[in-house]
Amino acid sequence: MSSLETPLHRVQGLGSSHSGVKHFWRQRVTAAALVPLAIWFAYAVLGLVGASEAQVLGFLTRSAFGVPVNAILMAALILIALYHMVLGLQVVIDDYVHGEGGKIALMLFVRAAALAVGASTIFALIRIAGPV
């Protein structure tokens, strides 16, 4: 036996993190998706500087291909950005918080905050541009 690694551990291919390259890969996929979404967002918000309520509502309810495309892009940006945020903050917490209890508590807080921001913004978008 030339390795201390068990055969089961080796064929699972998950390494010492027990999750393989899942975190790394998801961070990159969300980053790649956020590049065009962030450019769209920056351009869109620049067009809404000092906008009245009616102008913002007009932007978010603007229809293309029969759907409120700006509201959908905004929802996609928010959900993917929050996923990317959870992955990124996990790395920061892993680096600086060494106690197991504090680490778990902070990670749960970050996920709860992401859920709260995601749910409330999607609810707001549906209220603005939804079918009802």
Binding site: R28, G50, F59, I78, M85, L89
Partner: protein, 132 residues
């Protein structure tokens, strides 16, 4: 007995170089943008809630503190976007030599400030709105 023990090199021992700065700033802007999602949530919830809550958002955004925070958010978004693209290029094997990595870090710093200042220049000269 108290005897001087060998110490591991701490932050102060290293000289600053561009890739070190861009790495640290990428993390700081990432955490900043995580807090920025709260601003985005506030904006969307305010728009969905009616004229008064939206007016409160507008007043705060137009104040000097609001403008300061929004400029920081804009620059953080531009930096994280540009440096993120640099990281994705790195992941594909481009720009790995120290000379190229340092040069690209400088480009990211300068371009991110230029884009943020440019965005505010567009807004302040009244060119921000759609056909406004």
């Amino acid at each position: 007995m108290a005897r001087a023990r060998p110490l591991s090199p701490f932050l102060t021992i290293y000289g600053w170089y561009p890739t070190m700065a861009s790495s640290i700033v990428h993390r700081v802007t990432g955490v900043g943008l995580a807090l920025g999602t709260l601003l985005l949530a506030w904006w969307l919830i305010a728009v969905a809630s009616g004229p008064e809550p939206y007016q409160v958002f507008r007043d705060v955004a137009a104040s000097w503190l609001g403008q300061f925070i929004l400029f920081g958010f804009t620059w953080a978004l531009m930096f994280h976007l540009l440096n993120g693209i640099r990281h994705l290029a790195w992941d594909m094997g481009y720009g790995f030599t120290p000379a190229k990595a340092n040069r690209n870090s400088w480009i990211v710093f300068i371009l991110s400030v230029a884009l943020a200042v440019g965005a505010f220049a567009v807004a302040y000269t009244g060119h921000g709105g759609y056909g406004a």
